[in-house]
């Protein structure tokens, strides 16, 4: 399913494309091992000021470990972490201008909401009236004015999440680390909070580094997404690039729904790369297939919504067109997903928006249909 928004892409904010920009955070070939186990593997990223950066990957791929190294709770086994150009390896956690919102929230159970939020300011010996003003401001920001005197166990999950957010924002850190901040919330609340987070980040002009295993969440909030797999950074790009130009089957499959068809590069001719799919009697073309040569094995990645379904063959059925039988139809309200079984036994998914309510002769089970797509609909992947 396609994400419903393209997130903040319209902002035309792209410091990563500007060579004169100085990154706020730089991971330089960072590796972290626990014994023999490699949790983070030779990873490099730059994160720029005012960026909302998401680390996306399945559970256990090393996202939390990466955050903990930045916060100072773990030391990299190899490589360096620079914060504002300074190597922070010798800086203890309590001296780093970074605050973290913990996955478990880690609210101090014996302190009131106010005391929790004031905790960081107290450590800096901020004068009392200033602390009080700041706490009130934070409570207002997260809309918990009524709850300042409560203890954490007297709050709901969503309220606790907001206290944790307020506490980590109270010191206005240069960089806020958020470890799956919304994982414990139900879907409705999670979606609402995602938009609040992006608003807050833009309003305060801070840099956010969020960790999540939820691809929709990453797409919604982030300026850029880094997709991780077993401690390795697979791709770093904007949500739209990640979706439209995944660099590997792993990324294509992790973000949204995709059809992956194995094939072989048959010919390369400028802006036309011809692919001979294995086991399918057809000829595919894509606009480009970087780093490939004739005869290389590639996978054609096709998003379901980019494939048209029709009862009649399209005008040019010689390329990017296959035929098959409707095997299954999933009706999702706004969309219908057609599972079409090709003669070779491969199933291809096509998503069609349900724009008209009355179709003269709706496509139904066991119909013979044609699937077709344009040359730039698919991406050829070599990994």
């Amino acid at each position: 399913m396609a994400p419903t928004t393209l997130g903040p892409i319209q902002r035309k904010f792209a410091p990563w494309d500007d060579p004169s920009e100085v990154p706020l955070v730089r991971f330089e070939n960072v590796t972290k091992r626990f014994g023999d186990f490699v949790a983070v593997d030779n990873l490099s990223i730059d994160i720029y000021p005012r960026e909302f950066f998401a680390l996306l990957g399945p559970s256990g791929c090393g996202k939390t470990t990466l955050l903990r190294m930045l916060a100072g709770f773990e030391q990299p086994t190899e490589g360096r972490i620079l914060l504002d150009g300074q190597d922070v390896s010798k800086v203890p956690p309590y001296r780093r201008p970074v605050n973290m919102m913990f996955q478990s929230y880690a609210l101090f159970p014996h302190m009131t909401v106010e005391a929790n939020i004031a905790f960081g300011l107290k450590q800096d010996r901020v004068p009392k009236p200033e602390i009080e003003a700041r706490v009130a401001e934070m409570l207002k920001l997260v809309r918990l004015e009524q709850f300042g005197k409560r203890k954490p166990h007297q709050l709901s999950g969503g309220q606790r999440q907001r206290v944790a957010l307020a506490r980590s924002l109270a010191k206005k850190p240069k960089l806020l680390l958020l470890d799956e901040p919304l994982a414990a919330l139900d879907k409705k609340l999670r979606e609402a909070t995602q938009f609040e987070l992006t608003d807050l980040q833009q309003e305060l002009g801070l840099t956010f580094l969020i960790v999540t295993h939820d691809q929709e969440e990453a797409m919604t909030v982030a300026d850029r997404i880094a997709v991780m797999d077993h401690g390795v950074m697979v791709q770093v790009a904007t949500p739209a690039e990640i979706y439209e130009q995944p660099n590997s089957r792993y990324v294509a499959d992790f973000i949204g729904d995709v059809n992956l068809i194995e094939g072989r590069v048959a010919a390369i001719d400028g802006a036309r790369v011809e692919i001979a799919p294995s086991g399918i009697d057809a000829r595919f073309e894509v606009a480009e297939a970087p780093d490939t040569a004739v005869d290389d094995t590639v996978w054609l990645a096709l998003r379901p919504e980019k494939i048209a379904v029709s009862m009649e063959p399209p005008d040019d059925a010689s390329v990017n067109c296959v035929s098959g039988e409707v095997w299954d139809i999933a009706y999702l309200g706004d969309l219908s997903i057609y599972h079409v079984r090709l003669a070779s036994g491969i199933t291809v998914k096509s998503a069609q928006t349900n724009v008209t309510r009355l179709i003269e002769r709706p496509i139904t089970w066991e119909d013979k249909v044609y699937l077709s797509w344009t040359r730039d609909a698919g991406v050829a992947l070599i990994r």
């Binding site: 916060a71 100072g72 709770f73 203890p92 956690p93 309590y94 001296r95 970074v98 605050n99 973290m100 913990f102 478990s104 880690a106 609210l107 101090f108 159970p109 014996h110 905790f119 960081g120 450590q123 800096d124 506490r167 980590s168 010191k171």
Partner: protein, 307 residues
């Protein structure tokens, strides 16, 4: 009517299960206490047993009520008149309080270290703390005589390394009593503290550090306040039995050591004054009821909070 009968039987079974601890208390605590309580109102006489019963079992309930009005509190009044008893009580409370504090001081770092040890070591560490219980308490206290006496291990070691010229007199002083109590009661402090500290979420300390708190301050603002339930439980478990301690002051203490357990013993066996020693015991119980009730109250509050 089968289900009804079944329900009845399980209800009875349940009542029986609930009743067992009460029966236990009745037989092994309340009954002996009633006897001691009864003796505490009688008078000494040279006989066997060495007191004149106030009321016999054969007089029946009416007879008891009769006697009740003319009960003699003489033995209790006597406790107030002789400074020995008051001093013994106060000294016991002081020794128990100081010992509890010392046990806490030593036990806290031990429990903290155990809770921070690698997970796979922890069961072994808990075993080590419990290990001394496998030897008789009496033998372990005797062993301390061998360590603390003039020509004992401690003095030999200290003279051997040249720290002192003359052996120190430790045995038969209050210091030996403190050492004995601290040693004997340490597990009672360490175990509840460990149970508490082990549950403490590491993320809370990390959150404090993350917010700019120095590790030492994080200990005092986060770890210690959150471990107070363990501190209190351990302190009560040490303080309450330490007040009535007899074996340790008797074996390790000297003539200066005044503890109510010792006073009770000499009253009972040397003076053969059963009535007064019974009164001493009853009063000790009354004094200890205060911390016991406090402890109960506190445990209940903790349980409620946990839910």
């Amino acid at each position: 009517m089968m289900p009804d009968e079944h329900a009845k039987r399980t209800a009875w079974g349940r009542r029986l299960v609930v009743a067992i601890p009460y029966i236990w208390l009745l037989v092994f605590f309340l009954a002996p206490f009633a006897i001691v309580f009864k003796i505490s109102f009688s008078e000494v006489q040279i006989a066997m047993p060495p007191y004149a019963p106030v009321f016999g079992w054969e007089e029946g309930f009416a007879g008891w009520l009769d006697k009740f009005s003319e009960l003699s509190f003489d033995n209790y009044l006597w406790l107030g008149q002789d400074a020995l008893y008051i001093n013994s009580y106060l000294s016991s409370l002081r020794i128990a309080a100081v010992s509890t504090f010392l046990v806490l001081l030593i036990g806290y770092p031990i429990a903290y270290g155990m809770a921070r040890a690698p997970t796979q070591w922890r069961p072994a560490l808990v075993m080590l703390v419990i290990l001394p219980f496998w030897t008789s308490f009496l033998i372990r206290v005797y062993a301390w005589i061998g360590i603390l006496k003039k020509e004992g291990l401690l003095n030999q070691a200290l003279v051997g390394i040249g720290l002192i010229d003359e052996p120190l007199t430790i045995l038969n002083t209050n210091i030996a009593v403190y050492i004995g109590i601290v040693y004997s009661y340490l597990p009672f402090m360490v175990l509840p503290l460990y149970a508490n500290l082990e549950k403490l979420d590491r993320a809370l300390i990390e959150a404090a550090l993350d917010l700019g708190c120095h590790p030492i301050k994080a200990f005092w603002t986060i770890t210690f306040p959150l471990s107070l339930p363990g501190v209190l439980a351990g302190s009560f478990l040490v303080f309450i039995p330490a007040v009535g301690e007899f074996v340790i002051p008797d074996l390790l203490g000297g003539s200066e050591t005044l503890m109510i357990g010792k006073t009770l013993w000499s009253e009972f066996f040397s003076n053969r004054d059963w009535p007064v020693s019974s009164a001493v015991a009853v009063l000790l119980l009354l004094i200890l009821v205060i911390p016991i009730v406090l402890f109960q109250h506190f445990q209940q509050k903790q349980a409620e909070k946990g839910q």
